[in-house]
Subunit: 197 residues, 2 copies
């Protein structure tokens, strides 16, 4: 998102985190702009009973958590590393100063917020209107797009549990449905991994 020289110029700090580290918790106020340099971060809701709903997965160069800065609300989700990860962290004041001085970057943030909004709208419609198989395929197709693997076969880098947490389904349902999809030849299962063709 923000190029390295600007991160430096506006006093971002680099932080290295091991897998499964909590970056911030839902309900907490936002003071920093975050950007993934290396690794991967998930943002998820946790309900009272511990059930998880994954709102997004962020990696190389992507910013996360900035809607809470822009919208001036507390984090609606928690952010947790799902790999060893290094992030850049910039104070809110510096971040807004940066935007004020760099119209194109500011515009870029509108762009990515809008794209996320679009994705959420699509998923919302999916979840409320379509059966499990369709939901799963839509999410997988989106992930393929996100990982830029549109041509070659795409080995989905997520467990059945994670797919369940992104679609609002149960693990068992995901397992059974993916099995059925592979039987209908809509996708492949190689060595237990889901592979889109």
């Amino acid at each position: 998102m923000i190029p390295e020289n600007l991160l430096e110029e506006y006093n971002a700090r680099i932080v290295n985190l091991s897998k499964d580290t909590i970056i911030f918790n839902q309900g907490k106020p936002a003071y920093y702009y975050f950007q993934v340099l290396e690794g991967e971060v998930k943002m998820a809701h946790y309900n009272e009973d511990g059930q998880e709903f994954i709102q997004g997965i962020f990696n190389n160069g992507m910013s996360f958590g900035e809607p809470a800065l822009f919208g001036e609300f507390t984090y609606p989700c928690s952010a947790v590393t799902i790999k060893d990860t290094s992030i850049a962290k910039m104070r809110s004041e510096d971040f807004f100063k940066l935007l004020e001085n760099n119209f194109e970057i500011h515009k870029k943030f509108n762009n990515i917020l809008s794209k996320r909004l679009r994705y959420k709208g699509i998923i919302l419609n999916e979840i409320s209107s379509y059966p499990a198989a369709h939901r799963i395929q839509t999410v997988l197709k989106y992930l393929r797009h996100k990982y830029g693997q549109e041509q070659e076969p795409f080995e989905v880098p997520f467990t059945r549990q994670q797919i369940a947490d992104m679609t609002g389904l149960r693990v068992e349902t995901v397992i059974k449905t993916i099995k059925q999809l592979s039987q209908k030849d809509e996708l492949n299962i190689h060595d237990h991994k889901v592979v889109l063709k």
Copy 2:
């Protein structure tokens, strides 16, 4: 969103539309910035079988459809007036020029995009994790907040069908569930209207 003097300065045109007029259709490219001056507009997905999913309701002063401009994608939803409505309409180029010259307004757009993102995230979590009664109550509570009726009893200005279309439930389910909620004294039904206390 954008004050009247700036709308004028950047060549916005005012258009008057009667109830149930389509402003744009899903799948079409975006050329204009839109803002409601008077009346009300809904944005909704329509599936093949004609089923509707309402993504948002926009009224006095709110902008709509601008994510498609920012994100450079075609409209994921259609926009339709649900009352007689007058809107301001500004060409995309003028709109971006305006933002470039008005940092605070530009920032305000980040703010509202972020808030919408937050709402969608909440609804997404609701729909995927909670039973019908909870979903309905969350949406109604949100609407009350949106219409700024936090204190007094709030007469919900939507039909059961519209609530169904916002929660991804069926009309019958909404009717039955609201009945149950009123029996459990969680809300009132006055003269067939849903009233939050």
